[in-house]
Subunit: 555 residues, 2 copies
Amino acid sequence: MAHASAKAPGILTFDTHPSQYRHWRLEVDAHTHIATLSMDVKEDAGLSPDYKLKLNSYDLGVDIELADAIQRLRFEHPEVHAVVITSVKERIFCAGANIFMLRGSSHAWKVNFCKFTNETRLGMEDASEHSGIKFLAALNGICAGGGYELALACDEILLVDDSNSAVSLPETPLLAVLPGTGGLTRVVDKRKVRRDLADVFGTLAEGVKGKRAVEWRLVDAVFPSSKFKDGVARHAAVLAAKSDRPATGPGVQLHPLNATVSADAIEYSSVSLKIDRAKRMATLTVRAPESAVETTPDAILEAGDQFWPLRVFREIDDVMLRLRTNEPEIGTIVIKTTGDPALVLAADEALLANIEHWFVREVVHFIKRTLKRVDLTARTFFAFVELGSAFAGTLFELALASDRVYMFNDPDLANSVQLSGMNAGVLPMSNGLSRLDVRYYGEPDKAAAVLSRNGPFNPEDALEAGLVTFAPDEIDWDDEVRMAVESRAALSPDALTGMEANLRFVGPETMETKIFGRLTAWQNWIFQRPNAVGPKGALTSYGTSDRAEFDFGRT
Amino acid sequence: MAHASAKAPGILTFDTHPSQYRHWRLEVDAHTHIATLSMDVKEDAGLSPDYKLKLNSYDLGVDIELADAIQRLRFEHPEVHAVVITSVKERIFCAGANIFMLRGSSHAWKVNFCKFTNETRLGMEDASEHSGIKFLAALNGICAGGGYELALACDEILLVDDSNSAVSLPETPLLAVLPGTGGLTRVVDKRKVRRDLADVFGTLAEGVKGKRAVEWRLVDAVFPSSKFKDGVARHAAVLAAKSDRPATGPGVQLHPLNATVSADAIEYSSVSLKIDRAKRMATLTVRAPESAVETTPDAILEAGDQFWPLRVFREIDDVMLRLRTNEPEIGTIVIKTTGDPALVLAADEALLANIEHWFVREVVHFIKRTLKRVDLTARTFFAFVELGSAFAGTLFELALASDRVYMFNDPDLANSVQLSGMNAGVLPMSNGLSRLDVRYYGEPDKAAAVLSRNGPFNPEDALEAGLVTFAPDEIDWDDEVRMAVESRAALSPDALTGMEANLRFVGPETMETKIFGRLTAWQNWIFQRPNAVGPKGALTSYGTSDRAEFDFGRT
């Protein structure tokens, strides 16, 4: 994994492997079906030398390893049915996000750090709900802030009862920020802690321990130190027994993506990104498979991470993360596709026909999570449906995830988009709706109507059906798409981020969208406030000899 | 209405009357059952002399009159079944919130301005849904930004089709902020404009007019100028016909509250506020009725605005608005009640027995809106249940709205809280749940269980039932409540605002909570961003010879 300064992050990459982990140990017990993921953060191995990761505190580098471990457990270890998350440090589970890292980080870095860690924790809940991997937080010691937020993302929380170990969310009292990695939301919405008790808990720097932590629903059970290990094993076994995963492997190895990175381009096997810095835009091109994908479980398993749907979405996922972290000024992403749409539709058929198979199920949920990552990426997405494109089925989801869709319209030249069963609900957004249902929020029957067409939509039909935004003809196309990109690039990036975050999430909210909408938006506000980040703010003063000084005006 | 500078607001009051309006004309036609509320903003009559309210742009003073008009239509004019909102200025409906006012305002003023205007617009939707008053926006000319957001709060939007008049949300392209008075949310969630069209609309400074505005669902119909008046009358008549309100009055006059305001206190007939500036806290004391309230429709109507439930909640509403606007540094409000709880419970019975009567219905919905105002007030609320208190039924809702409840517990001295049917769902929060259901979000059957007790809860029972947070005995009481207030006052006001906004709204989100959660939180973030409010920000540069300069880093 590359190294980057938190202050001025250089090129950060997201590829890693258990053999390279510096902060976690991953042990898999194929017999009990339980994996143990133990935190052992190396103080001196932060992404930046400017801070030390003491007391199992973490930075983005630590979380990239966690995300990798969970991803690999899903794909490489189908025999794992439950995961115990714990620490190898004595009397310390995790002290949360590193405060000195946060203090030294730019606003954008803080925001992206929180976004990635939120996605990782929601990914754990996704694995629990959809993949039969249950998570147990075994809190062997102090569990503060982001440490407790990690525990909150687990199905069960066990705490050692040793008169020392407490769970706490000290962000508000100590740092004048929020427990923004889902903490406030999960305490009341998931753990269903009573709101007044949550208020007390959220202002109590020392946290809550022992029996009271159980009574307040902050943890599920406490055990004295002597019985902790047994208790964890017993509870993990119960969780593992709930799984519907295979009893044995083999799993599918996730090999490095081996992207070719140059100054203004990233090349993968089926994905290219080309950056135009002058226009603050990039073109993301996704290529259809070049030949028919595997269609039987055995062949798909044998293809492994080269199975096109997995391969292409791993590449899209990686490019999104790189864009977010390494290219803050590239505000607009134009999405294009190329190749044979029939081969995309055949791949969709293979996915849908085998969706009960553990590996195909993982692939579909990974595609879903990658598309959610697109929805949550604070960049404008315009899909350009040009001649020779392959916006069909799963790849059309990229158009549906875009803020606008432009389709080239020349009656003499064939250009089409097409839907498949993959657009019908297996790839929901964070709000629980399919992107088609979101698109047709005002016309509840329309999603079914467009899905019922078993064939392509030409530009006129696509426009009429509302599948695309505009369909300029060959006379207007160049000017219209150029103007769209140029006028977008002239707008305030902050206003666009706020606008897109509101318009993309029509309709119901879920715990997941509340974390990104309500909680994150408030946290981002606080991350701008002098009371937190100003010269005398609490985040600035923490750990120094200065005391924070607040402007006490309420807003 | 008092005058206040937007930059350094002095004492602002919220009492006004149609005879004092400077910016609106209210006409009631008892024959057609239609009221017409016409905007005619006086340029030189803003709250501050620092800006001119050109083109029917508005500041808080304009919106206080609007809120007053709607409130009076509900209470004073039961014969009004529909309201047409229009403008008397030619070719101009409303240009939105005044930009120079926003530019010159402190962050806190901007936030509170938006909160009040949001509450006013949600109050219109509340009147439509619950009181049988439908709203029609008759857009006789340019309708931009906050002007269109006002229209969005109406049941129907009619636009004149004169090649000039458009609806627009130019905030993002012109000012680098959001249409934050519900605009983004209502466009997609209420009007159900397709998300890609909403994206185009939200970046198009000149807006959309004519047939396209109808096709995109931005307005319900357009009429050429010559047919506009007739069209409005016809549509208003259809809306009025849907009402279940009485055919004739008389209504209930809302007289001035006549608060006695001194430096550190506000006194009303049944409510007192005492401010302790050193502790940055205030004590709000609400008094039970002194004798039995009226119980028959005729007697209640005759009592009018002196009917205790209306009188006391008008006073609570007024004190909340004064606190928000005039006392930014008072961070904690301790709520106390005094008097005979039996008289409160008798008042609750009178409300519930007559809830089908138009006036009682209005009173109950007004209590509901006032309590929502408490939920949305960015101050900490602690309820102190002391000896002699009257936390019963509707007044116990104030405890349920509080962040914590402390109850004095001496086995030798009687102290109790009690529920009534008013706690059972007629006063829902913005998220649609009763405060009891929110409190017991983790125990779905518990609200019914506590409601089934037909009698008081002593401190031990109340603690056991989870109706109160803590019940210190007489030895601990003084220290514990003092410590609670002091330690709260030491925390960052911003972190508390964010924390409370998350913990108070457990569970589902509605369009209403999305406006205050997702949209407002993003807007508040943007209101802190240099791209909007910095020296070269778009809000700062608008209308000057300077061009906005952006930091194009995306966040």
